[in-house]
């Protein structure tokens, strides 16, 4: 039982890390970034390149963030910016962007799985059970991401502008907020967070050009259900991630893999606001 609980919490932590970048983009721009998976991949490969250059592991994560943020900023300026009025087209364009990034990664690094050294290996004993040390570490990582995220949003001027745009863009513009800049920075941060999550999951994941895809649907669904706030995203990750672990453990893992998508779709049907204002 304790193992199931640990599985649930660590799974929720991973889901939160992976979907936080998507959340901020969705919150500010009201678009779903289909290139999210590609940015996860960019992060993992950035970590790979960093590791090959001999950088210590602690530096790989910021390197990944920077790489993702740079790609994201470029994408915002060249593509996404032109599609704010056409959210469904933005989905398609980001999907195309995902294809392009994936193929560029393939052309540079090849299709094969790449090797990245894990920073933490082995298990630690927790309340009498041996458990993967890295997964435990992910709980901490999720907390750090969440804290930095809310500190940015609540403690900085940019965060204030961002929240203003989230609440009421027209009004924010009226108050002199440069919403174009807010969007650029938001998209860059969102992409950076995706890349950062890509670097963080390398010890548990394979590093290959399609590595982000399996996470994509879960991330979409969690963000939709959360309705755009970090707190509800954490709640959704915990509830739906926990449900996934329970179904995987007690029913079967194949159904478990579909749990988040199906439950989230039904939740949204019954309660369109999702877990927001719960």
């Amino acid at each position: 039982m304790l193992i199931v609980a640990l599985d649930a919490v660590t799974t929720a932590a991973l889901l939160l890390i992976i979907s936080s970048g998507l959340l901020i983009v969705f919150g500010v721009m009201k678009i779903i970034n289909f290139a999210h998976a590609a940015f996860i991949t960019v992060g993992a490969y950035a970590a790979l390149v960093g590791a090959r250059l001999g950088l210590p592991w602690v530096l790989l994560v910021p390197v990944a963030f920077a790489a993702g943020a740079a790609c994201g900023a470029l994408a915002e300026v060249t593509i996404v910016r032109r599609l704010y009025q056409r959210p469904l087209d933005a989905i398609l364009a980001t999907w195309g962007l995902g294809i392009v990034i994936g193929q560029i990664v393939t052309l540079i690094f090849g299709r094969e799985v790449q090797f990245v050294q894990a920073p933490i290996t082995g298990t630690i004993e927790l309340l009498g059970v041996d458990y993967s040390a890295y997964r435990i570490a992910m709980i901490g990582a999720a907390l750090v991401v969440a804290l930095v995220f809310s500190a940015l949003l609540n403690g900085t001027r940019l965060g204030l502008s961002t929240r203003a745009v989230i609440m009421n863009e027209m009004l924010a513009q009226g108050l002199g907020v440069d919403s174009a800049r807010v969007r650029l920075v938001t998209f860059a941060i969102g992409s950076g967070l995706a890349a950062l999550s890509g670097a963080l999951i390398t010890p548990l994941s394979s590093v290959d050009p399609n590595m982000g895809v399996p996470w994509l649907i879960s991330a979409f669904m969690l963000v939709m259900v959360s309705g755009g706030s970090l707190l509800t995203l954490a709640v959704s990750s915990l509830v739906l991630g926990g449900l996934q672990v329970i179904v995987s453990t007690f029913v079967n893992p194949i159904l478990g893999g579909l749990t988040i998508a199906i439950c989230a779709a039904v939740v949204l049907r019954v309660r369109p606001e999702g877990f927001a204002r719960a």
């Binding site: 599985d7 660590t10 799985v113 290996t121 993967s132 994941s205 290959d208 453990t249 079967n252 893992p253």
Partner: protein, 383 residues
């Protein structure tokens, strides 16, 4: 990502032979240049290229040169349909020799039958694919599983097995055979779990494994990513049980670094086979491809041998007539890097199997070899 269904228009015509003016014999190689097989496909193509070059250098087959037509099957059914169409109806190849996914092979079979073209399948697979046009020179579960299970039973005193696979035909097919074999040899299967083919989160399965009291694991996942994620997560969870992997090759093992150490594999080819034929083959590959060489492996070497098997069959049949060649294919044998191979068991071949252990540097150490393992009843004649 978007798998495409595409086919190759580039024809690699090996024109090494100087006096070979005759109409070439065309060999079609539909292979997964894109999609799931795209990692291994280049090594398969290289094998075929070497075989064609060697044969043409020695005057071809019955005085006719060989020409190679490679087509991308996208590693799936839709792409395979187009690739087979293009090779059989557009390029009008005389034979198909290729390593493909089961989905691609199955999709190609009706087209092969329509085009009445011999088809030598050179990929290991879950067994029991039968068509009058199909020959297989790679292993099936009956050949691959026993070495690992027997070794675990005897040397590791394993009694309780836990099986983990990807939810697809190969994964399920291999493990259902494994389960039957374990039970036949007196062991017990305490768990059998699957994750979708693109699944990457093995958490719950690993927790179940740890709680199951198993003393050995056998896995059969989709190649590449699922193999890597499962192994990484097993190691991260501190699992150090005897670990037999039915789906890992030397290249993938290398990409997992230290995590792959101590995995047991069973294969009909490993680069470390200590035979003159293998050494000659490796040297020729190294010479031809140099820095571009893709490490030869259990999926690419049978392609090389398949070309030679076709050569022998055409020579025996006295021409490329499909029916005669098909009859001859079960009678000829090839001496190649994997030893002497003859596809005389219901269109499958007895093979020498090697039990290997992955080393910390990613290399594979051969622990034991099992000569002439029989493929069993793959395509029993219908009564």
């Amino acid at each position: 990502m978007t798998s495409r269904a595409l086919l190759a228009s580039f024809a690699f015509v090996a024109a090494t032979g100087s006096a070979l003016a005759a109409d070439p014999i065309r060999i079609g190689v539909p292979v997964g240049l894109s999609g799931a097989n795209s990692v291994v496909a280049p090594s398969v193509v290289q094998s075929a290229e070497l075989a064609v070059e060697e044969i043409n250098a020695k005057g071809g087959i019955l005085g006719r040169p060989l020409a190679l037509d490679v087509a991308d099957d996208g590693s799936g059914a839709a792409g395979a349909q187009k690739a087979f169409d293009a090779l059989i109806f557009q390029k009008k190849v005389n034979v198909l020799i290729s390593m493909e996914t089961s989905a691609a092979r199955n999709a190609g079979l009706p087209i092969v039958a329509r085009g009445k073209t011999p088809y030598i399948y050179t990929s290991f697979y879950e067994g029991k694919s039968c068509s009058p046009y199909l020959y297989v020179n790679a292993w099936v579960p009956e050949q691959q599983v026993p070495p690992i299970v027997d070794y675990f039973n005897k040397e590791k005193k394993a009694k309780q097995y836990f099986l983990i696979g990807s939810d697809y035909a190969f994964g399920r097919g291999m493990l259902s055979f494994t389960k039957a074999y374990i039970e036949k040899t007196g062991g017990k299967v305490v768990g059998e779990e699957y994750l979708p083919m693109d699944g990457s989160d093995w958490t719950s399965i690993i927790s179940k494994l740890k709680a199951s009291g198993a003393d050995a694991i056998v896995t059969s996942t989709a190649g590449g990513a699922p193999n890597v994620t499962l192994t990484k997560q097993l190691r991260a969870a501190g699992v150090s049980l005897p670990y037999g992997n039915l789906a890992v090759d030397e290249g993938t093992a290398k990409s997992m670094g230290a995590d792959a150490a101590d995995i047991y594999i069973s294969a009909s080819y490993v680069t470390g086979i200590d035979s003159a034929a293998n050494k000659k083959f490796l040297a020729a590959m190294g010479k031809k491809f140099g820095a571009d060489l893709k490490t030869p492996n259990d999926l690419s070497v049978p392609e090389y041998e398949g070309v030679y098997a076709y050569k022998a069959a055409v020579e025996k049949a006295g021409g490329t007539d499909p029916q005669k060649v098909l009859a001859a294919l079960s009678e000829v044998s090839v001496d190649g890097p994997r030893g002497t191979i003859k596809m005389d068991k219901q269109r499958h071949a007895p093979l020498t199997m090697y039990l290997g252990q992955v080393q910390a540097d990613g290399g594979v150490k051969v622990i034991q070899s099992f000569p002439n393992v029989d493929p069993g009843a793959q395509c029993p004649p219908k009564s």
